[in-house]
C-alpha cells in the first residue's frame, strides 16, 4: 500500500470514527465475553482436574451391609490389592449426624469421614492444612469450608453421635481442604475427618463398612477413565467378597471417573457460556461486516476516482483490508484485559462452585492465541465479501453509483399502493418504504436484531424455566419443618409428643432408607460420590392419605395405589443411573437394610430435583422388610410460616422428641433445603443471564450502526429533501420512524425462533442437569423488556443519525463524496 493510501486510511479512520468506534465496541464486547469464558474454562479444566485427581479419588466404593472390624478389613484390603487392575485399596467408613459445637446444637448436620490411624491416604486422600494425618485420639479435623457454616473454630469442642449411638466429644485440632467434595455451604452440611482412634467403641473394636478401590486399565498404573471397566472390576471384587468372605454388599458406588461432583455442571455451564460468547463474536463479526459494507459503499465514488487515476483492485483491497484490520486490532487490544479480568472473576465463582483452591489463575498460552485469532481473524474473514466487492468496483459502477439503489423491490411496489390511502402520513409512508428499500440490508439488520432478541428471550425464559422448578418444589412443599429421626419410630408414638409442641399444626411421617437398585441377581451399582449426596438413591415409603407427597408427573405406567405391596415407582434419573432400559411392568431388586427384595416397577416418574428416586407405599416397605410400619422422617406444618416460627418449632420439636426418648438426627426449617437448591441453581441463572445480556448489547450496537449507515448512504437524498422544502423536523421523523420499523420487524421475526430456541435449550440443559426437559416457560417480562429496549434503542440510535440528516445543508449533501 502506498504512503498516500496510508495517509488516506488514517484520515478516513478519523473521519468515520463514530462508526468505527461502534464496530470496535461490538467486537470488543463479544470478544471480552468469549475470551473471558475461554480463559475461565481453560484454567478451570486444568485446576479442577489436578485438584480433584490430587485427592486420588477411589474408582469405586463397595459398601458392606454391615461393618466389619478393622483387622478383618485390613486382610480384605491386602487380598483385594493383589487382584489384577486393582492398583490401590483401603477400608473406610462414614456417618452423618447432629453436631454440637461447645455444647450448642447446630441445625447443620456433620458428615464424618473415618479412616484408620495407619491409613497411608494413598486413595481418597484429603489435605490436612497445618498438621498431618492422623489426628490424635480425641481430635477431629473439620473441613475448612465448614467452619463458618457450623460456627466452629480450631480449638473448639464438637460433640457427634456415632452410628453405634455413642456420643463423642472431640477437639477441633486442624482444618482440611478436600477438593473431592462439593462445597459444604452448597450442600448445607459440615464435614469432619476422624481416625478410628477417636471413635468410642464401648470396649469393642473399631469397625469399617466401605472398601475403596482404585482401578486401572490393563497394564496401566493410573486410574481408569472407563466407568464400565471400573464397574466390571468392582463387581468382580464385590462378588469375591460375597463368595469368599460371606459379606453382604449393599451397593457399589462408581462415580464418573476423573470428574468432580460438580465438574460436569461447571463444564456444561462454561460450555454453554462459551457457545454464547462464540455466537456473540460471530454476530458481532457479521455486524461489523455489514457496517464495513456500508462504509465501503459510501466510499464507492472515491474508489471510482482512484481507479480512474490508475489504482488497481489490489491497491483498493489492501486499503480497506488495512481499515478492517485496524478495527479488529483495536477491538482485540481493548478486549484482552477485560477478558482476563472476567475470566478471573468467573474462576472465583466456578472454583467456589467446585470448592477448589486453585494453584494458579494464569491461563495457558493458547488461550491468548485463540482470543487474538478470533479478534483479528474473524472480522476480516466476515468482511471478505464486501471487501472484494468494493475493491473490484469499476469506474463505470462508481459513476453509476447513487447511494441507495433506486430500483424498486417487489415489497416497495406493494407499499407504493398504500400511497393511495387518503390521510396516511406521507412521512411515515416514506419511512416504511425506505426501511425495506434495500432488502438485503433490511434483512441483515432485522436478522441481527432478531437473533439477539431470540437469545435474550430464550435466555431469560430459561431462567424462568429453572425458576419454575424451584417454584414447583416450593409450592409442593406444604410443610415447614423437616425432622430426620436417628432411627425409625412408630408415627403413633411420635404424634402425641409433637401435638404438645406449640406451633405444630400437622405432622406426617415418611420412611426413607438408603437403597440399592439392581436387575435381578446383580449388585446395585450407583453413581454416588463420597459425599453421598450426589447420585444417591433412597426408597421413600409413602403413607396413605399423605398431603406432603404429591405424585410426580409419570412418563409411563401409573402411580402407587393406596396400600399396595410389591410395587415401586422409579424416577427417570434413578432408572438411567441404575437400571437403564427398565420399563413399567419389569422387575427390579432393591437392597434396603441388608435385605434383597424383588419389586414390580409400576411407573416411571419425571423429577427434576429432590426425591430419592424410588417410591413405594408404607405398607409395601413394611411388608418387604417384615417389620411394622415405621417412620424416620417427619414433615411438620406450623401455624405460622415465617422463618422465626419454623426455626423455633424445629428446636422445640427436637427437644420434645429427645425428651420422649426418640433420637433425632436433625430438625431443620425447610428454608434450609431451599438454600441448598439455590446454592446449585444460582450460578446457572447468572450465567444464562450473562449470555443474554452480551447478546443484547451486540444487538443494540447493530441497530445503532445500521441506522447510522442508512443515513450516511442517503446523504444526497436528504439534501434533495431539504432542497424541495422538507423541514429538519420532518427529516428527523422519517429517519426515527425507519429505525422503529426495523425494530418492530425484528421483534416479529424473533417470535418463532425464540419459541423454538427456548424449547431447544430447555430440553438440552434440562436433560443435562435433571434428565428431563425444563418446564416450558416463555418469560413475558423478557419479551416486554426486549421490545421496549429494542424500540427505545431504535429511537435513540436513530435520533443521532436523524439529527445528522436533519442538519445537512443542501450544499453539503450534494457535494457529498
Amino acid at each position: 500500500m502506498t504512503g498516500l493510501l496510508l495517509v488516506k486510511l488514517r484520515r478516513d479512520l478519523r473521519a468515520t470514527w463514530s462508526r468505527l468506534l461502534l464496530m470496535v465496541v461490538a467486537i470488543a464486547v463479544s470478544l471480552t465475553v468469549f475470551g473471558g469464558v475461554l480463559y475461565g474454562w481453560a484454567v478451570m479444566s486444568r485446576e479442577a482436574g489436578s485438584a480433584y485427581m490430587g485427592t486420588e479419588p477411589a474408582s469405586a466404593t463397595i459398601l458392606f451391609d454391615r461393618p466389619i472390624e478393622v483387622e478383618r478389613m485390613a486382610a480384605i484390603v491386602a487380598e483385594v490389592r493383589k487382584r489384577p487392575q486393582v492398583i490401590e485399596a483401603t477400608g473406610r467408613t462414614q456417618f452423618t449426624g447432629e453436631v454440637q459445637v461447645n455444647g450448642n446444637l447446630r441445625d447443620i448436620p456433620l458428615q464424618v469421614f473415618v479412616a484408620t490411624p495407619d491409613d497411608p491416604l494413598r486413595v481418597a486422600r484429603f489435605n490436612v492444612e497445618q498438621g498431618s494425618w492422623p489426628p490424635s485420639p480425641g481430635d477431629i479435623f473439620i473441613g475448612r469450608d465448614s467452619l463458618t457454616l457450623l460456627g466452629v473454630a480450631v480449638g473448639d469442642t464438637v460433640t457427634v453421635e456415632t452410628p453405634s449411638g455413642e456420643r463423642a466429644r472431640l477437639r477441633v485440632a486442624d482444618t482440611v481442604y478436600d477438593p473431592s467434595l462439593s462445597p459444604s455451604p452448597q450442600e448445607q452440611m459440615g464435614r469432619g475427618y476422624l481416625s478410628t482412634a477417636s471413635l468410642p467403641t464401648s470396649g469393642g473394636r473399631a469397625v469399617l463398612d466401605q472398601l475403596k478401590i482404585q482401578v486401572s486399565d490393563p497394564g496401566q498404573a493410573s486410574p481408569s477413565r472407563d466407568r464400565a471397566a471400573v464397574v466390571a472390576i468392582a463387581g468382580d471384587v464385590g462378588a469375591l467378597l460375597q463368595r469368599e468372605y460371606g459379606l453382604a454388599i449393599r451397593e457399589i458406588q462408581v462415580p464418573p471417573p476423573y470428574a468432580h461432583p460438580h465438574q460436569w455442571q461447571a463444564d456444561a455451564l462454561l460450555g454453554a457460556l462459551l457457545a454464547g460468547g462464540a455466537a456473540a463474536v460471530l454476530l458481532s463479526a457479521i455486524l461489523v461486516a455489514n457496517m464495513l459494507n456500508g462504509l465501503f459503499t459510501q466510499q464507492i465514488p472515491q474508489i471510482g476516482i482512484m481507479k480512474a487515476i490508475g489504482a488497481r483492485s489490489g491497491d483498493i483491497g489492501r486499503l480497506y483490508l488495512a481499515m478492517t484490520l485496524s478495527v479488529a486490532a483495536a477491538a482485540t487490544l481493548l478486549a484482552l484485559a477485560p477478558a482476563v479480568l472476567i475470566g478471573r472473576a468467573l474462576l472465583n465463582q466456578v472454583f467456589g462452585f467446585l470448592g477448589i483452591k486453585a494453584t494458579s489463575f494464569d491461563a495457558p498460552w493458547w488461550v491468548y492465541v485463540v482470543i487474538l485469532a478470533a479478534g483479528l481473524g474473524l472480522p476480516p474473514l466476515m468482511a471478505l465479501g464486501p471487501l472484494a466487492r468494493a475493491s473490484r468496483t469499476t469506474v463505470r459502477a462508481a459513476i453509476d453509483h447513487r447511494g441507495v439503489g433506486s430500483d424498486s423491490s417487489a415489497a416497495t411496489g406493494v407499499l407504493a399502493r398504500l400511497g393511495r390511502i387518503r390521510f396516511l402520513d406521507r412521512g411515515l409512508l416514506m419511512a416504511l418504504r425506505n426501511t425495506i428499500r434495500r432488502p438485503a440490508r433490511f434483512l441483515l439488520s432485522v436478522g441481527l436484531l432478531a437473533s439477539a432478541g431470540t437469545v435474550f428471550v430464550a435466555g431469560v425464559s430459561l431462567s424462568a424455566g429453572v425458576g419454575a422448578i424451584e417454584q414447583e418444589q416450593t409450592q409442593r412443599r406444604n410443610w415447614d419443618v423437616d425432622v430426620q429421626l436417628a432411627s425409625p419410630a412408630s408415627l403413633d408414638e411420635v404424634t402425641p409428643v409433637l401435638a404438645r409442641v406449640q406451633g405444630v399444626e400437622r405432622v406426617e411421617g415418611l420412611n426413607t432408607a438408603p437403597a440399592g437398585v439392581a436387575g435381578t441377581g446383580q449388585i446395585p451399582v450407583t453413581r454416588t460420590y463420597p459425599d453421598q449426596g450426589h447420585g444417591r438413591v433412597s426408597v421413600t415409603a409413602v403413607s396413605a392419605g399423605t398431603t406432603t407427597v404429591t405424585p410426580p408427573k409419570l412418563l409411563e405406567g401409573r402411580w402407587l395405589d393406596a396400600g399396595e405391596t410389591g410395587a415401586v415407582v422409579l424416577n427417570q434419573i434413578t432408572r438411567t443411573n441404575t437400571v437403564p432400559g427398565v420399563r413399567a411392568g419389569d422387575t427390579v431388586q432393591l437392597l434396603v437394610g441388608g435385605r434383597v427384595t424383588t419389586w414390580r416397577v409400576v411407573g416411571i416418574a419425571e423429577e427434576r430435583m429432590g426425591g430419592g428416586g424410588v417410591y413405594t407405599t408404607a405398607e409395601g416397605l413394611a411388608a418387604a422388610m417384615g417389620q411394622p410400619q415405621r417412620v424416620n422422617q417427619l414433615r411438620i406444618a406450623t401455624d405460622a410460616h415465617d422463618e422465626q416460627t419454623r426455626a423455633a418449632v424445629a428446636i422445640a420439636v427436637d427437644e420434645a422428641l429427645t425428651g420422649a426418648g426418640i433420637k433425632v438426627g436433625s430438625a431443620i426449617s425447610v428454608s434450609r433445603r431451599e438454600a441448598i437448591s439455590a446454592g446449585h441453581m444460582g450460578p446457572i441463572i447468572s450465567i444464562v443471564l450473562a449470555i443474554a445480556i452480551a447478546m443484547g448489547v451486540i444487538g443494540a450496537i447493530g441497530l445503532a450502526s445500521t441506522m447510522s449507515a442508512n443515513v450516511l448512504d442517503r446523504t444526497r437524498e436528504f439534501g434533495v429533501m431539504h432542497a424541495i422544502g422538507a423541514l429538519p423536523k420532518a427529516v428527523r421523523r422519517v429517519v426515527v420512524a425507519e429505525g422503529v420499523f426495523v425494530a418492530i420487524a425484528s421483534c416479529a421475526v424473533a417470535v418463532l425462533p425464540a419459541i423454538a430456541l427456548t424449547a431447544l435449550l430447555g430440553a438440552g440443559l434440562g436433560n443435562l442437569f435433571f434428565s428431563a426437559p425444563l418446564p416450558y416457560r416463555i418469560s413475558m417480562p423478557a419479551v416486554g423488556i426486549w421490545i421496549a429496549l429494542v424500540i427505545l434503542g431504535a429511537i435513540l440510535a436513530s435520533e443521532a443519525a436523524a439529527t445528522r440528516a436533519s442538519r445537512l445543508t443542501v450544499r453539503e449533501a450534494l457535494a457529498y463524496l
Binding site: V7, G310, A311
Partner: protein
Amino acid sequence: MGPAIQVIDVVKRYPLGAGGFTAIDRLSFDIAQGEFVAIVGRSGSGKTTLLNLLAGIDRPTSGTVHVAGADLGSLSESGLAGWRGRNVGLVFQFFQLLPTLTVAENVMLPMDFARKIPIGERRDRALQLLERVGVGDQADKMPATLSGGQQQRAAIARALANDPPVLLADEPTGNLDSTTADAVLGLFDDLNADGRTIVVVTHERDIRAIVGREVTLMDGRVVADERASAGVPA
C-alpha cells in the same frame, strides 16, 4: 507516428427496455497526436459515452478503441487501471478530488499508483504542476477549502501527474463561472501547446476559438467534424 486515438466502427448499446438504447452508433474517427479536440453535441448525443469509451471506463458493444497505442478491448479491468494511470489524465465536471487528502497529496496519488515518477521527486513534481495550473499556494490545503475553479485546476494538475500523452476532460468547465471557465480552457490550450493530445467534452459554445478540431455528435453519430485551421468538414 500513428494516431493518438483511433475509434473503429464502435457501437455502444445500453440494454434499456425493449431493444435497448444505442448511445454510439458505428462511430469511426482518428485523433492525431497533439490534437486538441472538442466533442460537442446536445444532451444524450453520446458525448460522455464516447469519452468513457476513450478512457476505458466503458467497453464498446462492438468495434475497437485504440488510445495511446493500446487496444482497450484487450485489457482487463486491472490492466485498464494501470494503463490509465500511465497514459491518460482524466478531468471531471465535479473535480472529484479525494476529500481526505490534501491538494498536493491528491496530485501525488496517481504517481504512487503508476510508480513512474521516483518517490523522492513526487512531491516536487506535484508542487510544480500545481504551480503551473495556478494553485501552488493551495498545495497543503484540503480540497473542501478551495473554490470550484481552484479545485478544477488541482484536478487538472492531478490529471497531469504521470505526464500522460492524452488528457480527457468531461465538461471541465460545466461547474465553473465564465471567467474561471475561460481560465481553465486557457490552461488546456497551454497543455496542448506542449504537444499533449486533449479531448474535451463540452457544451461551451466558444470553445471553437481554442480547440483545433470540433466533433459534433447527434444520436451517437458524427454529424460534423470541423478543423479550425482548415475550416472545412473532415
